[in-house]
Symmetry: C2
Subunit: 447 residues, 2 copies
């Protein structure tokens, strides 16, 4: 069986139990690689701390050294020349260029509809409120990984530009490729996406060293106010370490989909969506919840049938055998309960009446209603964001929105009468907190 089956009770203790990424066991092969690189046994967090400290202390020199050591590339300069970015946009096959442009325009249209409401009230004696202000400088991490991810560049850069961020820079690991009849320092689809999305610059830097460069600045790479975008374990640990020096969007773990399906769902489509999820990463989670035994059997048959034709079979098999599985639930109510407890990154409602169930969804990064609205559309082109909370952080966090690129400045402009009337009670509270100078500042203004 490709998709192991669980009862709801079993699933709660195993398949659906949450272990945050930084508490998962680290593979021995990774620890061995770290020991070889650093000449002594280090945890990933310790390795990241060394890289971050070095880039902070030595800037470009350290960035060059780590790029050579970890990416195996000696760069003449970190910044990708503007002409090369424009050339990439021209070099793409027409179909890819058109699809990227369509995706960019829909993502922009969606994010432009985000209300960002500065507000002032005159109801409390004078004027009080909160004013939205865009961030000034944002850094976007675009993973190199096993495949270039131009879509992530669109998803991170466009909302920042819509919010009014002045300077949006992209960092991506150097991955020299020969494609479309030319040599490129990173995949041209990624460079073209940066161009389309309106990024102000692209730098070739990856891993913890790239995050450190954005947090502290180097001679070549500007210091930013916030770093967004997913990355591997080292990128995530580095983001956590520099949080407080700069803002971050969150800590990304492996991707997850939870599909709730009923007997009306098309098993071939459900299977295709599970396979798409599983091909990301051996740690990806592709989970099916359904009250229908018939659907379970039909999806399993469809998986068996489709899998041999997939290019990334090895990854898919590992993911299906890992954090993936199917749960036969009592009914859709129980499926929603399990989904809320899991708080998935993606939640697909492949059921007859998905809108009926939407009010039951408490925690999810993004919900896909009905089997026509499948996850791959959200990954690329629907317009919604695909940078979403993983590892159960949908309990408290959201996907990227325009709101991630503004902050709120409080405004206190009380009228003199109200200020005077409030000064006595303020002094009383200050005295209750034994803050005598606070009380004195208030007493100066009291009648």
């Amino acid at each position: 069986m490709l998709l192991r089956r669980y009862t709801p009770a079993e699933a709660q203790d195993t398949l659906l139990r949450r272990v945050p990424i930084h508490e998962r066991p680290v593979p021995q092969s990774l620890l061995d690689a770290l020991a070889r690189t650093f000449g002594e046994p280090l945890t990933p967090d310790q390795a990241v701390a060394r890289i971050v400290a070095d880039v902070r202390a030595r800037g470009d020199a350290a960035l060059h050294a780590w790029t050579e050591r970890l990416d195996g590339v000696r760069l003449a300069q970190f910044r990708v020349p503007e002409a090369q970015i424009e050339a990439a946009a021209q070099a793409l096959p027409r179909a890819v260029r058109d699809a990227l442009a369509l995706a960019a325009s829909r993502i922009r249209a969606f994010h432009q509809r985000q209300p960002v409401t500065s507000w002032l009230t005159q109801d409390l004696g004078g004027t009080l409120g909160l004013l939205a202000r865009p961030l000034v400088r944002v850094g976007v991490y675009a993973p190199g990984g096993s495949a270039p991810l131009p879509s992530t560049v669109l998803m991170a850069v466009i909302p920042a530009r819509v919010a009014g961020v002045e300077q949006v820079v992209v960092v991506t690991p150097p991955r020299p490729v020969e494609v479309y009849g030319a040599s490129w320092p990173a995949h041209p689809a990624l460079l073209a996406a940066a161009h389309l999305a309106g990024a102000h610059a692209v730098y070739l830097a990856g891993g913890a060293q790239a995050i450190a460069a954005l947090a502290y600045g180097t001679e070549s790479i500007p210091q930013v106010d916030k770093i967004v975008g997913p990355g591997n374990l080292f990128v995530t640990l580095a983001k956590k370490q520099v949080y407080g020096v700069v803002g971050i969007d969150g800590l990304a773990g492996p991707t997850e989909t939870l599909i709730i399906a009923d007997a009306t769902a098309n098993p071939a489509w459900v299977a295709a969506d599970l396979l798409a999820q599983a091909e990301h990463d051996p740690l990806a989670a592709a989970i099916l919840l359904t009250p229908s035994d018939a659907l379970l059997d039909a999806v399993e048959a469809a998986l068996q049938e489709q899998l041999p034709r997939r290019a990334r079979q090895e990854v898919i098999r590992a993911a299906l055998a890992g954090r993936s599985g199917a749960v036969r639930t009592r009914d859709l109510v129980q499926a929603l309960e399990l989904a809320n407890a899991y708080a998935p990154e993606h939640l697909a409602l492949a059921v007859a009446d998905p809108w009926r169930w939407l009010p039951h969804v408490r925690h999810a990064g993004c919900v896909f209603l009905g089997e026509h609205s499948y996850e791959v559309l959200g990954d690329y082109i629907a317009g919604t964001n695909h940078v979403l909370p993983t590892d159960g952080s949908a309990r408290y966090a959201s996907g990227l929105t325009v709101l991630d690129f503004v902050k709120w400045v409080g405004v206190v402009a009380l009228d003199p009468d109200t200020a005077q009337a409030l000064s006595g009670p303020a002094a009383t509270l200050a005295e209750a907190e034994a803050l005598d100078a606070h009380a004195a500042a208030a007493r100066w203004r009291a009648p």
Copy 2:
């Protein structure tokens, strides 16, 4: 001179230069105390990691042990009985009770005016949008410190309740006191504030051990989804460590005020506001920027005159001699430039026409317009929040708002025609990313 004077150029390299809290040197006395407590030399971060791991592993038993060791208190139970919380509300002197109630009602009224806009659009073929969902469980850290801070309880609990959070719990270090004719496990003003604000429970736990208890849950203390509220170095380091297991509001450093004043400002009031700021903490920053030499001299004279009457003179002197100072600027334009570069927690515009300058404010936690709207009102009773970004994080972060207690769930419900039309381009993009199973999931739906 109590308030050391700087030129703008000097100030940029010294007074106004930012060093994040976790990168500041740790006093030797603190390191010595850690070595005594742990029996070996540890950094604060290492000490916090030990406490967090222990509470995670052993729950209440560890929490009891650390509370006894670090707070010197042996507790029968962590939870403050409901009856004791109600008794506290009754025991307060009438003036304090009324002032707390007035503060709570204004804070509630302000935060209820926050727009929290779920939105759906039909412009992109079907329905897309973002739905606000309140967090379910929130933990509020209320510092014990040198003084009880009931105001912080109001500031953190009320916006969570306004957002619709189901369960809001307060943790505060055990600080047994005899006051108002009875014995209390923590200051009754703080307990009364929790009652007024609508907290569901108060637990006696402080420091890193309290943060660990909220992040992982113990037999007595519920696991929460997000932890908010300021605390000392150990609380802040613990919040950073558990970030990712739960959400956090930010990393709090020592408080800061930057006052921009012109020749029209009342020097006695400016001095009183600087003294109020300085009494918080020897590390507090009280900074004055003004183009007026006459005002500088008058404020210095007022400080000399007022300081001897203040109860917390030692703290104030240390703070004024530390991160505080005055800068004589060329004009108000330059003062605003320096303020934006510093990104202060509090920014007071004690100038003739404060509204004229508000559009120039890019980074600040909260702006106080005109000398009638002074910071102490914002600390207690204006209605705006006093949990604000410190250490320059106002570049990318905000004070607590109702928005901190909701997350956004994406909605993708494309109509079948749009979904079909987008499936071809989605497959093209998936192929460009070499994600074959994504392409296949899209091709299944394409015409």
